[in-house]
């Protein structure tokens, strides 16, 4: 039993925290959202140079980390800074799937992902899927020398920044079946792809993507035909660990801003932090953030556990972190008063980003129900 970071991870955390606090400014956040790509080239290349993308991959796959606690260290710091570079999409989801299922030729790409030259994203969610990972309607049929893909993908995060995407499509079965889902590597500029780009609540950009008879070669298939679901679920477990850690970083940032404000803002002749009505609410916020941190530790430590055990921790963490995120956001804004609702004050961005955590990979209720189902199975 040991809750200390290893020396390497401690160094990564320290240097990343320092770098992000020096680099990420409100202007950078604003400009990155305004940019067509929805992210900052400066920050992206800075993170790549520091080896932060590489920390998301195992040594075997061409990185120098890749364990659960590597992910959580990196994403907690990204959260603390309010950064939204496409590490989740390129490094964890799409990159992780290539590392897990890819051929040697496909895995050669990981070097470019780690260096930041190539940005990938995962096009998996669909308009009717909500949070169900097995709900894939997009079809892939054999044709010519390869595959022909047709369907729609929704809220594809970081698609405007990506050069290629990993697309999930059904090669057999019905929507909702875990069997019959395949993955394909598709260039963003392939013929038959139509995209609608848009900005996001909480920063960054995404796309609605329509694929109409998109032709890819036979070697675009990643992993076994019809057998990608297990890897998709496993990478989502890793993504949820990363996302929950990011949420804890965002919570710490919101808490620090709010405590600072309680100390400095005066009303009725004294700092508002002297009022017990606010003190006790802030104490509760603090306690719940520590609970969220524990939930992330539990998940980070069980990512390599057998599926049933791992997924129990996935849903437990996502449920608890989602509840805590709502509490932290709403209490932080309330204790700030009007200033907490403005976009010009730092809390605005943090609060929006933290709120959106619940809308990706399954919300509080989704994971509560899933936790119950997993226990009954």
């Amino acid at each position: 039993m040991n809750f200390e970071l290893t020396e390497e991870r401690q160094m990564l955390q320290d240097s990343l925290r320092r770098y992000l606090s020096d680099t990420v400014t409100p202007e950078m956040i604003h400009d990155a959202t305004e940019a067509d790509t929805g992210h900052s080239d400066t920050l992206w290349s800075g993170l790549a140079e520091m080896g932060v993308i590489g920390a998301l991959f195992s040594e075997e796959d061409g990185g120098f980390g890749g364990a659960g606690f590597d992910l959580t260290v990196v994403f907690e710091e990204l959260g603390r800074a309010g950064a939204f570079e496409p590490l989740m999409e390129s490094g964890v989801l799409a990159g992780g799937l290539i590392a897990a299922l890819g051929s040697d030729a496909q895995k050669a790409m990981i070097d470019e992902i780690v260096s930041g030259e190539t940005i990938l994203t995962l096009a998996h969610g669909e308009p009717a899927a909500r949070y169900d990972l097995a709900h894939v309607e997009t079809q892939a049929a054999k044709g010519g020398d390869g595959w022909i893909l047709t369907g729609r993908k929704s809220v594809v995060m970081a698609a405007p920044a990506a050069q290629q995407m990993v697309v999930s499509a059904r090669t057999s079965g019905e929507k909702g079946d875990t069997d019959g889902i395949s993955l394909f590597l598709v260039p963003m500029d392939a013929s038959g792809i139509e995209t609608r780009d848009y900005p996001l609540n909480g920063g960054g950009r995404a796309s609605e993507i329509t694929l109409t008879d998109v032709t890819v070669p036979a070697d675009a298939l990643i992993g076994p035909e019809g057998g990608a679901f297990e890897a998709i679920e496993t990478q989502h477990a890793r993504a949820i660990a990363a996302q929950c850690a990011e949420a804890v970083g965002l919570m710490d940032a919101a808490k620090d801003l709010t405590v600072g404000y309680l100390q400095q803002r005066k009303q009725f002749g004294q700092p508002i932090g002297k009022f017990q009505a606010l003190q006790h609410r802030m104490a509760d916020v603090l306690i719940e953030i520590e609970q969220a941190r524990s939930a992330v530790i539990n998940l980070g430590g069980h990512l390599d556990a057998p599926r049933a055990e791992r997924e129990r921790y996935v849903s437990a963490a996502k449920n608890l972190v989602g509840r805590t995120a709502k509490l932290v956001v709403e209490e932080s804004i309330q204790m700030h008063g009007g200033i907490g609702m403005t976009m010009e004050y730092a809390l605005g961005h943090i609060a929006k980003r933290l709120t959106m955590i619940d809308h990706r990979f399954g919300d509080v209720d989704w994971h509560l129900e899933r936790f119950i189902r997993l226990a009954a199975a």
């Binding site: 970071l5 932090g273 104490a283 509760d284 603090l286 524990s294 939930a295 539990n298 430590g301 119950i372």
Partner: protein
């Protein structure tokens, strides 16, 4: 970062399990598991078994006959004894007075009292709260006036848990009215059979007289029964509170309560199905289970920091608040699960040997009485509101 026990800790856990298999009397664990009230002799029997093994002084160093265990081992011991439905160790002598005497007592006091705590010669109770001094403990009035070789004690203590069994009481008494209220308090050891001491039981909403009022009417106490220095009692009391708060999260109790809740909700039927399969009820159980999973790790984070030598400060306030909220929610859901058989209240059925049959399932009344009894959790040891104020000052610096 490693969430598993070391091999050495696992071996220790196995040793504790073997000991409990062999030595914990089934009669006692059955009583604990079914919620039958424990008698004084039940506690004494269990203490004697632990003492024989050298495991009664869980929090004590070896030089005083304790285990010398670090925080992780203490946690494992607590986890395993709770899992096995062992009686709790009565905390007043072992966890509260013992550490204070070791730190602040005279050599004579240590030599006399510490062995008597371990061998069961003395049963201690705690004289802190007064009718007018609860959360604001420093406002206490029970007075001790020096008269030659003695103090003369007058006043009243309350909420004295298991005081009806006690031979001795350690008290916070007022020895001075000068300066701040905290500066005039002393720590005094008093024999319960001294003339002028009287005890009146208080029946609580669970039907049990677990707590008492204790009166002192011109009680003559030898001056050598003062612990440490006069008017320094507040310091000793605060030190004691840090020990009282080990295991404050109650994760072991909550884990057992969750298992009990699931068992009952699996037996109770609603609309022809076990209650646990009702989605609304299942959601409430799952929610608190998720909170408990995180709590276990929050607790271990504090425990490991303590094992590494960092004194738990305001973190124990966090554990106290969240731990009691979780336990009380489990008690609430268990009460709900019981349904209409929460209503019958046949107190005798909880007494060993009364031969009074419970009305309805045997788990019903203990579930309800635990709910009532554990309202205390968020009140005692510094109410949860006091804990929030501690967090405010010590961590948030507001």
């Amino acid at each position: 970062m490693d969430l598993t026990y070391t091999d050495e800790q696992k071996a220790f856990r196995d040793e504790v399990r073997r000991f409990l298999d062999e030595k914990l009397p089934k009669r006692l664990s059955d009583k604990v598991a079914t919620g039958i009230r424990l008698t004084k002799s039940d506690y004494e029997e269990w203490h004697a078994i632990l003492h024989e093994k050298g495991w009664l002084g869980v929090t004590w160093p070896e030089e005083h006959g304790g285990t010398g265990w670090d925080a992780v081992r203490r946690h494992i011991f607590e986890e395993e004894t709770t899992r096995a439905s062992a009686p709790r160790i009565v905390p007043f002598g072992i966890n509260m007075l013992g550490p204070v005497l070791m730190k602040f007592g005279s050599d004579a006091q240590k030599a006399h009292y510490l062995p008597r705590i371990l061998d069961g010669s003395d049963w201690w109770c705690q004289g802190y709260s007064e009718p007018g001094a609860g959360s604001d403990l420093a406002s206490l009035k029970c007075s001790a006036e020096r008269d030659g070789d003695h103090y003369i004690v007058n006043g009243q203590k309350t909420w004295t848990t298991l005081g009806q069994y006690a031979d001795k009481i350690f008290c916070l008494v007022r020895t001075s009215k000068e300066g701040k209220p905290q500066e005039g308090i002393s720590f005094l050891l008093i024999d319960m059979d001294t003339p002028g001491v009287s005890v009146r039981p208080i029946v609580l909403i669970d039907g049990e007289a677990e707590v008492n009022e204790v009166w002192f009417d011109n009680v003559k106490v030898p001056a050598e029964n003062l612990v440490g220095e006069e008017n320094k009692g507040w310091t000793y009391a605060k030190y004691l509170l840090t020990h009282e708060r080990t295991n404050i999260a109650g994760v072991g109790f909550s884990t057992a309560a969750l298992q009990n809740l699931k068992r009952i909700a699996g037996l109770e039927m609603q609309d022809g199905k076990p209650l646990i399969e009702n989605p609304l009820f299942a959601a409430k159980v799952a929610q608190v289970e998720i909170d408990l999973m995180a709590m276990a790790t929050t607790n271990m984070r504090v425990v490991s920091a303590a094992a590494a030598g960092q004194a738990p400060g305001a973190e124990s306030s966090m554990l106290k608040i969240k731990g009691t909220v979780i336990r009380q929610e489990l008690n609430h859901l268990t009460r709900r699960a019981v349904g209409p058989y929460a209503l019958p209240f046949v107190s005798e059925a909880l007494e060993e040997g009364s031969n009074v049959e419970p009305v309805g399932p045997d788990y019903a009344m203990p579930a309800v009485q635990s709910y009532f009894n554990n309202r205390k959790l968020s009140i005692y040891g510094g109410s949860n509101e006091v804990q929030r104020t501690i967090i405010t000052k010590a961590i948030l610096e507001l």
